[in-house]
């Protein structure tokens, strides 16, 4: 099972750097659990006989071919902890005609009343604007805040989607290929950004290097079956590559 010490070994600064994330739970508590479940996608069984739990404080990477069932597992995780996870799906689901600011602000809709939200749509409030600006500086989006999302490149849109998820300020981050459209350098920056703000995370990643670097537990999926579930320290990149053969 999870190597809790691993968190601080890999990234010692992480656990005390959260800003905003609610951190009510004690480390190690089970936050999601599968007991022999079969998961369906559009009425088709995609992942069979799923058995694992995720504990608070874990950083889990889901790896495997596309079509192996990673997205399905993430969706099921989201269902289990709906109101506590920041959700960053593969299909970003941004609102193309709204600005980057408004798309990021959408992560905060649940924190405010209707009138506050509607007024913000007409003219941004100072406070959320500054908060969003702060996030966007780290993601290199600060000069784009008032631009419509549809005018952005794929990579910029993906960073907007990450910012929106982070702005939900939840303790657990669920990301489905959150950096797939970014170059290696940006991907690393964005993953650091995500890690800094969440004590637990589950990411599906196709880059095994990123998985080993940012996560402390690797779950490998092949054709809907978990074939690997191990601490990141116990495995190296070439072992992981075997999953893709």
């Amino acid at each position: 099972m999870a190597n809790e010490a691993g968190v601080s070994q890999i990234n010692p600064s992480v656990t005390d750097a959260q800003t905003g994330a609610q951190r009510a739970r004690t480390s190690g508590e089970v936050i999601a659990q599968f007991k022999g479940q079969t998961l369906y996608y559009q009425d088709r069984p995609v992942v069979r006989d799923l058995n694992f739990s995720i504990h608070a404080g874990e950083r889990v990477a889901l790896v495997g071919h596309s079509g192996a069932g990673k997205s399905t597992v993430l969706r099921a995780l989201r269902q289990q902890m709906q109101s506590e996870c920041a959700w960053c799906p593969q299909d970003a689901g941004l609102v193309p005609m709204l600005s980057v600011y408004h798309n990021i602000y959408m992560g905060a809709l649940h924190r405010h009343g209707v009138f506050y939200n509607l007024a913000n749509l007409v003219r941004p409030w100072r406070e959320p604007w500054q908060q969003v600006r702060k996030l966007s500086v780290e993601l290199g989006l600060e000069h784009l805040l008032s631009q419509a999302v549809e005018q952005l490149s794929g990579g910029q849109q993906q960073r907007t989607a990450v910012a929106r998820a982070v702005f939900q300020r939840q303790p657990i981050f669920l990301g489905d290929e959150p950096v797939s459209a970014l170059d290696a350098f940006q991907a690393q920056q964005v993953l650091e950004f995500i890690c800094k703000r969440h004590d637990s995370l589950v990411l599906s990643l196709h880059d095994t290097g990123q998985a080993l670097r940012f996560c402390d537990r690797i779950i490998g999926l092949v054709e809907g079956k978990v074939v690997l579930d191990t601490p990141a320290l116990d495995i190296n990149q070439s072992d992981l590559q075997a999953l893709y053969q």
């Binding site: 109101s83 959700w87 799906p89 609102v95 005609m97 959408m106 809709l109 209707v114 939200n117």
Partner: protein
């Protein structure tokens, strides 16, 4: 008929259900044509037509002041009604999921704006509010439907990504922005229809272009009629140049200043109209026993012939519309005409589209005399050009192979089969409109429902008028539901089109 049967033969195996539908509609249409009274009654149609033609060549404006005033009135009615309709339609669309709201919207849009005008004329006379409400109410029903459907069709993804948020915030952050562009495009198209409807209100006496157009045509002042017609065409053709979002508040304010929607309603009279006058006479006089005979008489003498004639005209017009559209869509298709000839072809189609059925039928009546023929031609010309214009435009997206055949072969072997699904979808959309208009054209004297409704109003038998109007609304709702069912069954495009 040759076009459609050739087509059916060619595609029987590949598009079974579509061809069957087309064959059925053709059959019904032919039967309706046989039953319809279509003949030229006017003794010398050529003479009147020549005079009109000469009028078109030498338009003349007799009184500029009246002219400009009619133009401004037309626009004022349209702007005020559009603003009101958009507001009400938007509010209704927010609860469009509720079956009762959907039924309510179908009912209010099932009653034609001219019928609404006749109702409000009784209560508020020839006032601004009469015109504004008559236009706004059915349009609100239409817009509510379109908005509601657009909201249902936006991608659910952005909304699903939100953490639990209240419905209103979620709506304004995801659904509304996602639908906004289609919404605006549809509104600007609807505004064009609104201008046409506003013109037509003149035929019942409101001071729009239609009022002067009607009297000019009726009295044979064709030069004046032509000038008014050109103004209408110019107005609609230039719409996209002057209908700018930034200017809308200015236009709206001007519209309110020019025709303030204030009215001196005698509230007693209004109350009496809606609570006493429209109640069936036997009930009003507490002689319930006679209600049955009252209903039977109404059914035998007015409702039955009205409904049958409306159906006959509607189905016959659908067939002629289809033929006309199939014949004309190459005029706007790059596979058949190019460059300037396509521009001229499309201009013809756009002019046909711009002229309201009601006006065309009125002109036809003068030339051909009082049979169903003018109504049939008017419906076919207006709706056929709309369908032809759109089918032609959609055919742009066809990429044919380099060595494709040409001419008639190209039409029947390559283009028509590929466009047929689209064509049928558009036609079924227009069918609802054709049925609505078939009823209303009765007000010009054709024996459809509109004729009986108009006569009931003239005789101040409002109870009859009310019942007949309700029946015409039900008929329209039926056509609407049937067309939707059909489109769904044939897997035709069910998203709202800007027609």
């Amino acid at each position: 008929m040759s076009i459609s049967s050739a087509h059916e033969f060619h595609y029987r195996t590949a598009l079974g259900p579509l061809s069957r539908t087309a064959a059925l509609l053709t059959l019904v249409g032919v039967m309706a044509l046989l039953l319809a009274d279509i003949e030229i009654i006017s003794p010398e149609p050529g003479l009147e037509l020549t005079r009109m033609g000469l009028g078109l060549l030498s338009p003349r404006i007799p009184d500029q002041y009246v002219f400009v005033e009619a133009l401004l009135n037309t626009l004022s009615f349209a702007f005020q009604a559009m603003a009101l309709a958009t507001l009400i339609g938007f509010l209704l669309s927010l609860v469009y999921r509720l079956a009762v709201v959907r039924a309510f919207c179908a009912f209010i849009r099932g009653i034609h704006e001219l019928f609404w005008a006749l109702i409000f004329l009784q209560v508020m006379g020839l006032s601004t509010l009469t015109g504004v409400l008559a236009l706004a109410i059915p349009y609100a029903g239409i817009l509510a439907k379109i908005f509601g459907e657009l909201f249902e069709e936006v991608s659910p993804q952005p909304r699903n990504n939100l953490l639990v948020a209240d419905h209103i915030s979620a709506f304004f952050y995801t659904t509304l922005p996602l639908a906004w562009r289609s919404l605006c495009a549809y509104c600007s198209y609807r505004f064009e229809c609104m201008v046409r409807s506003s013109v037509i209100l003149g035929f019942v006496g409101l001071p729009t272009l239609g009022f002067y157009l009607e009297s000019a045509l009726r009295e044979g002042r064709y030069q004046e009629g032509a000038a008014l017609l050109y103004v209408l065409l110019l107005l609609i053709a230039t719409l996209r140049f002057w209908l700018r979002r930034a200017l809308l508040p200015v236009y709206l304010l001007a519209a309110f200043l020019l025709l303030p929607p204030v009215v001196e309603v005698s509230w007693d009279g209004a109350w009496r109209f809606f609570t006493v006058d429209i109640v069936p006479a036997p009930l009003r006089n507490n002689s319930q026993a006679q209600l049955w005979s009252w209903l039977t008489l109404l059914w035998q003498q007015q409702l039955q012939p009205g409904v049958i004639n409306t159906l006959i005209l509607g189905m016959a017009a659908l067939l002629v519309t289809a033929m006309f559209a199939l014949l004309c869509f190459p005029l706007n298709s790059p596979h058949f005409v190019r460059g300037w000839s396509r521009r001229f072809g499309d201009a013809f189609l756009i002019i046909g589209r711009t002229l309201p059925e009601y006006l065309l039928a009125f002109v036809g009546l003068i030339v051909l005399g009082p049979s169903m023929l003018p109504a049939l031609l008017a419906l076919a010309l207006h709706n056929g050009t709309i369908v032809a214009h759109l089918v032609g435009r959609f055919s742009e997206s066809l990429s044919l192979r380099q060595d494709a055949v040409r001419g008639v072969n190209l039409y029947f072997y390559e283009v028509l089969p590929r466009m047929f699904r689209q064509f049928l979808a558009l036609l079924l959309y227009r069918w609802e409109v054709i049925m609505r208009e078939s009823a209303i054209l009765g007000m010009l004297g054709f024996a459809t429902l509109g004729f009986y409704i108009d006569s009931a109003f003239e005789e101040f038998r409002f109870d009859r008028a009310a019942l007949l109007i309700i029946c015409s609304a039900l008929l329209n709702m039926l056509a609407d539901a049937l067309a939707r069912y059909w489109r769904r069954r044939l897997h035709l495009n069910t998203t709202p089109e800007t027609l």
